[in-house]
């Protein structure tokens, strides 16, 4: 990889998609509105995986219990034969597909098509269900359209105040923090995170009580005279019903449930309401709950009461997590969706997509991510699973159970660039290309479509996900041209498929992106940097208040499990850590699972700083090294979720699902601490 040309690209990790250049196998940051020339340690070291000795370069097939090298033909023939057999015996839904929010738009699109056309299965969902689904559901209900940030990131630079709920960008997307500098920042988080340290005001609610807090802030907004009545009547419907519930959440009641002082509730509302421009932003901390969709609705209700959404210089947005968490949810790898953010049970949407794909029928909605994993190997569940861009054995809730379900499969196929924890238990592993070795588009957290171009040649022996899909589809009797392997060709089809949908990409072309045009969807011809300035996407143009009530965590602490565990990220790792744990510098900085504990709580458990502890829930037991952190709430522990094996935080988590978004309750469960 010497003397390769200098190519503009974007970081392979989070949704900020920092701009950088790659030259001779080294990356350096590039000026761009989102990252302004900044890169975090993950970005700086992102090229290391291109040449990592841990890189997979040959397909692996399990023989006599061991994964052994095989040729591509052998591997693909074996998979296709098995899939054909399962389909014949058990029907098309006996094969499931699990995608990822890191896949390019082209891959996400083709994966949905592959599942529904080549496999004919309804059983496809993706790890974005664990990520953006609550915010997406709430955004759709309120505005009729879900674009994480319906405004460019740079708009935040001019905000007078920003309320950030359950987000920790100082850790998860550090260069983003530059856009929070000018505003009075209010951070809501049960932990005093690096982001909370930057805040004017930090509200520290007990885990799982955000919904009560949001209702309380709405109450205070009304009681303290900040309701924007003109906005309410001009641009929204349904305030009265939402208010009836918020009226019962007076600040003192909210304090008792959440632990957030009344004075701080008042201060937060005052700062937000008195700023000339203000934003409310949500992150996974407030969304990953069994009441996550309602919780986001409550934050949106607050934003609307203050007249923020769809107002120039103000708004509501959610911080997308995964690299293509935005685009990944728009183009059909979701159980209930078709390309262009269309609903799969909408007859007109089905007809449009059937026309594009040249088929007469399509499967209906399938199981959501956790429900799909939970059904694997069960009598009516899939018997084979194809995994693209996800490491479910680490990232899914109640992960030992998920591991057991994977074991019950007749066939597990994993396409990945390294031997992830999930790939390690697969029957067939397919080595694939990664970001700098392939072209594709990503849609960043502000709905801007970005082109990542080939910068380096892939190692011998690896193929792209698109190749894999075509290879399998043709073996299953599909014409090759229905599954193109050239990203730009796939994108051309995606443009037509998305045309007329909510996420309309019909005006986006590789050529325009190469020219450096800033294209925020929908793009018919013009870009839409800001949605909703004139009207919201519901038929009447109005935004809707959604009446929601606080429910609290699904699992409360008791005598056996007296503490509450919450999970999150560290700066040095991304998602399941399958990639970042292989980067020397990142792994040195944060090499192992740890648990943050209040010093008194550690002492009571017979533990001290640096000792190994077992964190135990009703679902499992995680080993983690104790970090005593005096700012932790005395009954709360925190675990990062990037680690494998015994260090998996998700061994503990509660898979109870949100009724609307089917989001699992990652962010709170009852645990105890034990010394080991």
């Amino acid at each position: 990889m010497t003397d390769s040309p200098r190519i503009d690209t974007h970081c392979p990790y989070c949704a900020l998609q920092c701009a950088m250049t790659i030259e001779n196998g080294r990356v350096s940051p590039r000026e761009f509105p989102t990252n302004r020339g900044g890169l975090c340690q993950k970005g700086w070291t992102s090229a290391e995986l291109l040449t990592s000795p841990k890189r997979l370069t040959t397909p692996l097939v399990r023989r006599d219990g061991e994964l052994r090298p095989a040729s591509w033909d052998e591997a693909l023939d074996l998979v296709a034969d098995k899939l054909r057999e399962l389909r014949e015996v058990h029907g098309p839904d006996s094969v499931g597909v699990f995608g990822g929010g890191g896949l390019t738009n082209e891959k996400s699109y083709l994966l949905g098509k592959f599942a529904r056309v080549a496999l004919g299965t309804s059983q496809i969902d993706y790890n974005g269900r664990f990520c953006m689904s609550s915010a997406a559901a709430a955004g759709m209900k309120a505005f009729g359209l879900d674009r994480g940030m319906p405004f460019p990131v740079t708009d935040l630079d001019n905000a007078g105040a920003i309320l950030l709920v359950g987000g920790n960008p100082a850790e998860t997307m550090p260069p983003f923090v530059q856009h929070l500098r000018n505003a009075e920042l209010i951070v809501i988080d049960p932990r005093r995170t690096a982001t909370a340290e930057l805040a004017t005001l930090h509200l520290q609610p007990a885990p799982g009580t955000d919904l009560a807090l949001a209702l309380g802030l709405l109450h205070t907004a009304v009681a303290d005279g900040y309701l924007d009545k003109q906005y309410l009547s001009d641009r929204t419907t349904g305030f009265d019903d939402a208010w009836r519930i918020a009226a019962t959440w007076w600040p003192e009641r909210v304090e008792r449930v959440t632990g957030v002082p009344v004075a701080d509730q008042r201060a937060a509302v005052r700062i937000l309401a008195e700023a000339a421009n203000a934003y409310i932003l949500t992150g996974r901390g407030t969304e990953q709950h069994a009441s996550g969709a309602d919780t986001v609705s409550a934050w949106i209700n607050l934003a609307m009461a203050l007249g923020l959404p769809g107002t120039k210089g103000s708004g509501y947005g959610c911080l997308t997590g995964q690299g293509n968490g935005q685009g990944g949810r728009e183009h059909g790898q979701k159980a209930d969706q078709l390309p262009g953010y269309r609903k799969i049970d909408d007859p007109a949407a089905r007809e449009h997509i059937q026309g594009i794909w040249g088929v007469d029928d399509l499967p209906g909605p399938g199981r959501s991510a956790y429900e799909l994993l939970d059904a694997l190997g069960q009598p009516d569940g899939p018997k084979a699973l194809l995994v693209f861009g996800s490491n479910v054995i680490v990232s899914a809730p109640r992960s030992q159970h998920v591991a057991d379900r994977l074991k019950a499969l007749d066939l597990l196929v994993v396409a990945d660039l390294v031997l992830s924890d999930t790939a390690a238990v697969a029957d067939v592993v397919l080595p694939i290309t990664q970001w700098a070795e392939e072209s594709g588009t990503m849609t960043n957290l502000e709905g801007r479509v970005l082109l990542r171009q080939v910068a380096v040649a892939p190692p011998e022996g690896v193929r792209s996900d698109l190749d894999v899909m075509q290879g399998l589809a043709t073996r299953l009797g599909q014409p090759a041209e229905r599954f193109p392997t050239e990203p730009e060709v796939v994108f051309e089809e995606l443009r037509r498929a998305s045309e007329g949908g909510l996420a309309d990409y019909s005006g986006v072309t590789y050529e325009r992106l190469r020219q450096g045009e800033a294209l925020h969807w929908p793009v018919v011809e013009e870009s839409t940097p800001r949605n909703f300035l004139d009207r919201f996407a519901h038929a009447d143009g109005m935004a809707r208040f959604i009446p929601v009530e606080h429910r609290g965590p699904a699992e409360l602490p008791d005598a056996d499990y007296p503490l509450q565990a919450t999970t999150g990220r560290v700066l040095q790792h991304y998602q399941s850590g399958a990639q970042t744990r292989l980067v020397r510098e990142l792994n040195q900085a944060e090499p192992e699972a740890y648990v943050e504990v209040h010093p008194d709580t550690a002492v009571r458990a017979g533990l001290g700083n640096g000792q190994l502890a077992a964190v135990v829930s009703r679902r499992g037991r995680t080993l983690a090294r104790v970090r005593c952190v005096p700012s932790m709430l005395i009954d709360v522990v925190f675990l990062p979720f990037h680690y494998a094996g015994d260090g998996r935080a998700n061994l503990l988590t509660n898979p109870v699902l949100d009724p609307t978004s089917r989001m699992p309750e990652f962010k709170v469960c009852a645990v105890r601490l034990e010394s080991v």
């Binding site: 340690q41 100082a170 260069p175 009681a223 008792r256 900085a589 010093p599 008194d600």
Partner: protein, 480 residues
């Protein structure tokens, strides 16, 4: 289908109807009739002090909209007066009508108690002109109507509600005097020291106090005479001297009544078909007068009446008193009437009356058993959490008690920073790495960034890196 009749459409009765419909949304198991004596939909009594203060409109404190009953299959009858319960025939007499029941729930609430001061009541036993009880939404309207700026107002009763009303009226610019028969305010919840600090704080907001005295006579247009011979001018007297449970119907029907309708853990009265919840009920000696017990009772009773959880039990409510008054932060909980010299308890006390702060913490075996916190909002919130969740208090009691009043730690200077301290979080660069880079020839922030990547993420550490560069340069012996 079971026929449930709820007498009373206040916070308890309305909540019970809501809780029943949450468990039986389509009215498949339980038919619900609600009888309310006021003519308008139920409202949130907790928020009446906000209405008096002017921060919420009467419309904003309604619990239900007018279509609520129809939408939830509830037979709501407003403005009627229940005259009698016939337990033999299982019917309730409402005006000229009879309403049959399988289960009857008394949620009749409480009425204001009017102290025996001459002149407060007129000849008919109704409140005299210029006197308003502080109990209902209509009362609020009467109070607000008279409460123009500069109006002298006397509040009879220095308990929780009286003080909330006083604060609201002072906020409207009224000249408020609180007359309280005990030597310190809120004596049920506070000790004398806390009562004094509270009075000082409220005086600062323009409220006068006459403590340890009784009002002996009221003269309309003049005001109150007190038993110490002094006079309090008042165009308006707000009575907030306590309440009495509304138990007349139950008594008349021969149901056991003490200070309230006696109920067991199943919220049953002495007649198992008749239940009572809220302010009219007396459970294990307690008549609460607070909303939280009423709501918890409503949830338990709904579980039982709908069969959602037939074995549900109500086992009492831990009470946390929180004064809802702007610019006054007061929380009181548990048993606070314990001296600092108590042998069985650990008692901490902090007093700073000049700044309106008072904190008392009573612990037994690390658990909070009582507390009073005035003027320290974050301490109040944290202690309430420990109390409610039964959590052990942190070893650093002082930090808990003082909250953010504790002085912040001084920011460490570059020299004091440990070598391993991470300066640039985005790129995990420690002080020692910065020092090495500097010694290696990188003498400026940008040169250091080149070598270590420090400050190339969010840029937030630029000042810190700059400080270290300056410190290193200053500590370097000057060369010629």
């Amino acid at each position: 289908m079971r026929n449930v009749v709820i007498v009373g459409y206040g916070m308890a009765g309305a909540r019970l109807a809501d809780e029943i419909r949450r468990r039986d949304p389509k009215a498949e198991r339980v038919a619900v009739t609600v009888l309310g004596d006021e003519s308008h939909p139920a409202y949130n009594r907790v928020l009446l002090s906000s209405v008096v203060a002017g921060s919420l409109t009467p419309e904003a404190v309604r619990l239900h909209d007018p279509e609520w009953a129809a939408r939830h299959h509830i037979d709501l009858r407003l403005g009627g007066s229940v005259s009698k319960i016939d337990r033999t025939r299982r019917v309730v007499h409402v005006d000229d009508d009879e309403v049959p029941y399988d289960s009857l729930v008394l949620a009749t609430g409480a009425r204001s108690w009017v102290p025996p001061t001459d002149g407060l009541l007129d000849g008919n036993g109704t409140l005299a002109s210029g006197v308003v009880a502080f109990r209902s939404l209509d009362d609020c309207a009467r109070i607000v109507d008279k409460a123009s700026p500069g109006t002298p107002v006397a509040v009879l009763g220095g308990g929780l509600l009286g003080l909330e009303a006083a604060r609201g009226l002072a906020g409207r610019g009224c000249l408020v005097t609180v007359v309280h028969p005990v030597g310190h305010l809120m004596e049920r919840q506070l000790d004398p020291g806390a009562g004094r600090v509270l009075a000082t704080t409220l005086r600062g907001l323009g409220i006068e106090f006459r403590l340890g005295v009784l009002a002996t006579k009221y003269t309309p247009g003049e005001g109150l005479e007190l038993n110490d011979g002094t006079h309090v001018p008042a165009d308006l007297v707000v009575v907030s001297a306590g309440v009495r449970a509304e138990t007349g119907l139950a008594e008349q029907a021969g149901i056991d009544v003490d200070r309230g309708v006696l109920v067991d853990d199943a919220l049953r009265s002495s007649d198992p078909r008749v239940h009572a919840i809220g302010d009219c009920a007396q459970h294990v000696g307690t008549v609460s007068g607070l909303v939280q017990p009423a709501w918890e009772q409503a949830a338990v009773l709904a579980d039982r009446l709908t069969g959602a959880a037939p074995a549900a039990r109500y086992s009492g409510t831990t009470v946390v008193t929180r004064l809802k008054a702007r610019d006054v932060d007061l929380a009181a909980l548990g048993d606070v009437h314990v001296g600092v010299d108590s042998a069985d308890d650990e008692v901490l006390c902090f007093q700073d009356p000049a700044r309106g702060r008072y904190a008392k913490l009573v612990l037994r075996g690390d658990k909070v058993t009582g507390a009073i916190v005035i003027g320290a909002p974050d301490a109040a919130a944290a202690i309430t959490q420990l109390f409610d969740r039964g959590l052990p208090a942190p070893t650093d009691r002082l930090a808990l008690l003082l909250g953010r009043a504790l002085p912040a730690e001084n920011e460490a200077s570059p020299a004091d920073l440990p070598a391993s301290a991470v300066v640039c979080r985005c790129n995990t660069v420690s002080k020692s790495q910065l020092v090495s880079a500097w010694r290696g020839g990188a003498k400026t922030v940008s040169a250091i960034a080149e070598v270590t990547r420090a400050s190339t993420g969010c840029g937030g550490c630029k000042d810190a890196v700059c400080g270290i560069v300056d410190w290193l340069a200053a500590s370097q012996p000057q060369s010629a």
